[in-house]
Amino acid sequence: MSGIEIKSEKQVDDFILEVLRQHPEGCSQEQFERDLGSIPLQSRADALNRLLSKSRIQLFNRDGNLLYKEVSAEDAVKFRGLTNEELMLYQIIKQSGNTGLWTKDMKIKTNLAQPNIQKILKTLETRKLVKSVKNINNPSRKVFMLFDLEPSREVTGGAWYTENQFDAEYIEVLREACFQYIQRQGDTTLKHIAMFVRSRGFSKVELREEDILSIVNTLLYDGRVDQVDGEGAEDLDDHFRPAVHSIPATTAFTSIPCGTCPVLSECKEGGLISPQTCVYFDKFLEF
């Protein structure tokens, strides 16, 4: 008999692992057929089952294809003894990355029943493989992600949310600090403001330049600082300086009824709404 060697179970196992190492992204059924054709189907199937139950290899689904992959030694410990369903749910949660996955979507994706999913999640949580997170946009949904991942900014609300609460005090502190700095400097750029804020250690979380920009913008919109172009052709940054003109509390136009009139656009002499018949002016002139 040529071509067919009787291999021991261990040899078959090792051979399969060797093949999988050559396809670190995952090995499909067809790939297996090609590389392991010399091994009889039954031995192959037995070996795969052995390796799966020892968590030496894992099975996962990508775009409807079933793929096999070797499990690293440290992962093997984490996954030892997990059932296929538990592994499948773990994979699906893994795919959701740092956005996390809602339990309702887990049901849809895995077709597992509710009590089953609850049990599996409990197991995975105890093993510190997954954790529950709150999404700021939908705080009442039960969402889970991998234990080691940091939830994305969209989920946590970013720098402005502490423990899922909007941290208004913190923002106020930052605003004042930025304003004082701009006042002291007279003229500065976003980069310098950012360096200042970071050097003072106001923040436990890392503040990106865009976060600091949104703080400075609130000062801009409040009329406390002005934004001006940089000097010269080289300087492409925006500069900030304390406001030269503050936004007045009232102006001549807002002091008279016309400034705040809801039907100003329809007002004309001789019309239904006109200055002569204006009820707001009547009230205004009662003094």
């Binding site: 979507d105 049901k107 849809i108 946009n137 939908n138 949904r141």
Partner: protein
């Protein structure tokens, strides 16, 4: 909260899961629980109790839909309502809710009126269903509820949905109602709720595989909430 498996209740609950009345499809829940706290429920109830005590305003402490929150029995009521919702809708976590998210009904009769008027069409389907239709639906419903929690001894509460982050705000929900019948003496809560989904959207949902991360109500043309029939006071 321990789920009570009562045959007449389960029968109706199964029927209400999916009732096609023609223009829309009704999804209902009828479940009874005993107010026994164990395991996770117990832990949650302890933390909620503390949070409600410290987090409530002086006004709420003296008066709220579930009673003065300074009293432990009122806080217990709130906790039972929250835990019941958690059990009925396991994909959601209602532990952020507080007393002002609920309202107390003035007695059973208002709830009865609402339920009876909304479930007229459902009764007709029941009557035509073989094996079920021997006695009128509403009769069966109320007698089974009475058997479980003795209606005249109950306080009736309702959850005021914000229509955004919970099962009542799902797209194309034409009307919905929910009631908790709480019998303090018997330590039992019965939950009755129905949502009507427009037919067209139900068919659309079948082709969708995963729900969107964030709801955008504008995208769904079927999302009409009829003002009158909408019992959820926001």
């Amino acid at each position: 909260m321990k789920y009570l498996d009562l045959a007449p209740i389960s029968r109706i609950n199964t029927f209400l899961e999916n009732v096609d009345v023609g223009d829309y499809i009704v999804h209902g829940d009828l479940e009874a629980y005993s107010c026994k706290l164990a395991g996770l429920d117990k832990k949650l109830s302890k933390s909620l109790d503390a949070e409600v005590q410290t987090g409530s305003s002086p006004l709420q402490l003296s008066k709220s839909p579930v009673g003065p929150l300074v009293e432990s029995s009122s806080r217990k009521t709130l906790i039972y309502l929250i835990l019941t919702l958690n059990h009925i809708y396991p994909d959601y976590d209602f532990s952020l809710l507080r007393a002002h998210h609920f309202c107390k009904e003035d007695g059973v009769s208002r709830a009865e009126e609402t339920v009876d008027s909304h479930l007229l069409e459902v009764s007709k389907v029941w009557a035509k269903t073989p094996g079920l239709g021997e006695s009128p639906f509403l009769e069966c419903l109320w007698s089974s509820i009475d058997e479980a929690v003795v209606l005249r001894e109950c306080d009736v509460y309702s959850y005021r949905s914000n229509m955004e982050n919970d099962p009542f705000g799902e797209t194309a929900c034409v009307w919905s109602f929910n009631y908790f019948f709480y019998n303090k003496k018997l330590k039992r809560i019965l939950y009755l709720s129905c949502r009507a989904k427009s037919r067209a959207s139900a068919e659309e949902e079948e082709s969708e595989t995963v729900s969107k991360q964030y709801y955008t109500d504008d995208s769904d043309a079927e999302n009409e909430k009829y003002g009158m029939a909408n019992e959820m006071e926001v």
